[in-house]
């Protein structure tokens, strides 16, 4: 096991296309880090740079004590779970699990023991002699994880491992991955575009946008104090309302900011609320409703109990501490309001 440090890491493709720039992350031993962001934000590229599948053009990556920039994937002591699992189709499950150990000259008895241990942990014992094509999606996913854990590597790298599963299985596997990682306490880097998956899995999240780090922090830190409008809009569902301050004039304490943010769940309906909302649509979710509407010509959404009365126009109030202020030009958070 090991810590992983990314020191000013960047990647420029031939032809001067920058995929990743100035990334600094320190990952503690045993920590579960999730890289999250929209597609094309560079999260997969960054993971593949840690794995050694993409060259590093700027900065240094350390795994444990070593700088691994020039070290080949096989020698970085990492294991990777691929999005399409990348199971060897012509080998049985057992051979798939054993292949990495065999290549490293692990003694036969040791391979046998580790494969059986992994199979037991992942409950794939009865499939060991099948070929991958005879397995269901979820079973393949387990084999892919098994291939990572038999190696007992310094770090696990996950590249959107759940995106090929159906929604229900995704939730189950998410929990299993979390429990497995807690049990093995292996440093892990996990890439996903799904913010919910990211929130539930991560010890700490790294939000990436356009190849750069927007913010690093625990799920709650990011939820409570998003550092930019991008993070504010990306983390949390339904997304935070980001409203130009001119649309809601006379709000106390917003003088310096031209964008104010407030989460739909932090808005409540009160007779004397400072915001007036014209309701345009209602989405029924069961326990609660999402109400969409306009204020000062800008879209706004709130969550609202299902049994509460509805009206054409609602007045909204909020707690001052739940207000987020941003500078619209840079998108950065402004803290003066607090």
């Amino acid at each position: 096991m090991a810590s992983i440090t990314l020191d000013n890491v960047g990647k420029v493709y031939p032809g001067d296309t920058r995929a990743v720039g100035d990334v600094n992350i320190e990952i503690a031993d045993g920590e579960f880090i999730v890289l999250v962001g929209p597609s094309g934000c560079g999260k997969s590229t960054l993971l593949r740079m840690v794995a050694g599948l993409e060259s590093i053009t700027d900065g240094e990556i350390h795994i444990g004590e070593r700088v691994v920039n020039q070290i080949e994937p096989a020698d970085r002591d990492i294991a990777m779970v691929f999005q399409n699992y990348a199971l060897y189709p012509h080998m049985s499950v057992r051979q798939n699990l054993a292949y990495g150990l065999k290549n490293r000259g692990t003694p036969k008895a040791e391979i046998e023991r580790r494969v059986n241990d992994a199979a037991e942990i992942l409950q794939i014992g009865q499939y060991l002699d099948r070929k991958p094509r005879a397995l269901s999606g979820g079973q393949r996913q387990r084999v892919a994880m098994g291939r990572a854990i038999v190696r007992e590597p310094a770090a696990f790298l996950f590249d959107e491992p759940l995106s090929n599963l159906d929604a229900k299985l995704r939730v189950t596997m998410r929990l299993e991955i979390k429990q497995l990682q807690k049990r093995l306490r292996t440093t892990s880097i996990y890439v996903t575009h799904d913010q919910l998956e990211a929130m539930t899995l991560a010890d700490r999240l790294v939000v990436l946008n356009g190849g750069r780090v927007e913010q690093i922090g625990t799920p709650l830190e990011l939820y409570r104090r998003p550092a930019s409008t991008f993070v504010a809009g990306f983390i949390g569902s339904p997304a935070m309302n980001l409203i130009p301050s001119r649309a809601v004039p006379n709000l106390p304490g917003t003088a310096h900011a031209d964008t104010i943010g407030i989460r739909p769940e932090d808005l409540s309906v009160t007779e004397d609320g400072p915001i007036e909302m014209n309701v345009s649509a209602v989405e029924e979710l069961g326990a609660q409703r999402l109400i969409h509407g306009q204020t000062g010509g800008e879209a706004i959404t709130i969550t609202y109990p299902s049994d509460a009365p509805l009206a054409e126009t609602l007045r909204l109030g909020f707690d001052r501490k739940n207000l987020h202020l941003f500078d619209s030009k840079s998108g950065a958070r402004i803290d003066k309001a607090r």
Binding site: G52, L53, S55, Q70, E72, P73
Partner: protein, 282 residues
Amino acid sequence: MIENRPGLNILAHVTLILGVVVVAMPVWVAFVASTHTATDFSSGTIPMWPGPHLVENYRTMLDTGLSTSGTPPVGQMMVNSMIMALSIAIGKICISMLSAFAIVYFRFPFRGLAFWCIFITLMLPVEVRIVPSFQVVADLGLLNSYAGLSLPLIASATATFLFRQVFLTIPDELTEAARIDGAGPMKFFRDILLPLSRTNMAALFVILFIYGWNQYIWPLLITTEPQYYTIVAGIKRMADVVDGLPKWHLVMATAIMAMLPPVAVVIGMQRLFVKGLVETEK
């Protein structure tokens, strides 16, 4: 690739360059030979670089040919080859499309038998049934004719299967819409199927043109009058001289001209060529 190993990349480039050189070598030698005179290499040393007689040699062959070998001018043989190749390619495409249309879009008695009848041609290459096929063509009076050169070669299971495959991927809804719009079968064929299979036709044409142009045993057997000789079959007659050495510089000039049209088609339409090659093997 995965590892950053410049050594392996260099090795790959060296391998490929070597491959390209080996593949191109015979044609280069032939080209060099075709630009010299007979005396330049009958002395025993082989020139490595082109000589000054290119225009002269090629013009001789195109206009007059090698009369000692009984072959007509190369120009005329190329025209014959072109007629044969185009007839075979276009003929195969036409009759294959029509039969694929019948098999896919109609249900009629003995449809399976008709299908097998076409399928079986896969198993009867011309080389295998050469003697009786010659007999049939002779009995029909087709020796020394363009029909004799092309007709026996235009039945094609491969092309029929290809179009069958293409038609099967055309959604049923299109047929239904066309029928609702009042289109009969032939109108549907002309207005829907033909335009939708255009690239497949083009890809197939490239392959079939090469196939037709390169025919050897068949034209060799059924043409005895020089005016019907094709260039690929004619070369052999030039190289076969009873006494003395063949006029290698002129034979090589002919070889270069014989490969020029199909090679130009492959290089000029590489994408269609690859598509055609892969599709006909499905």
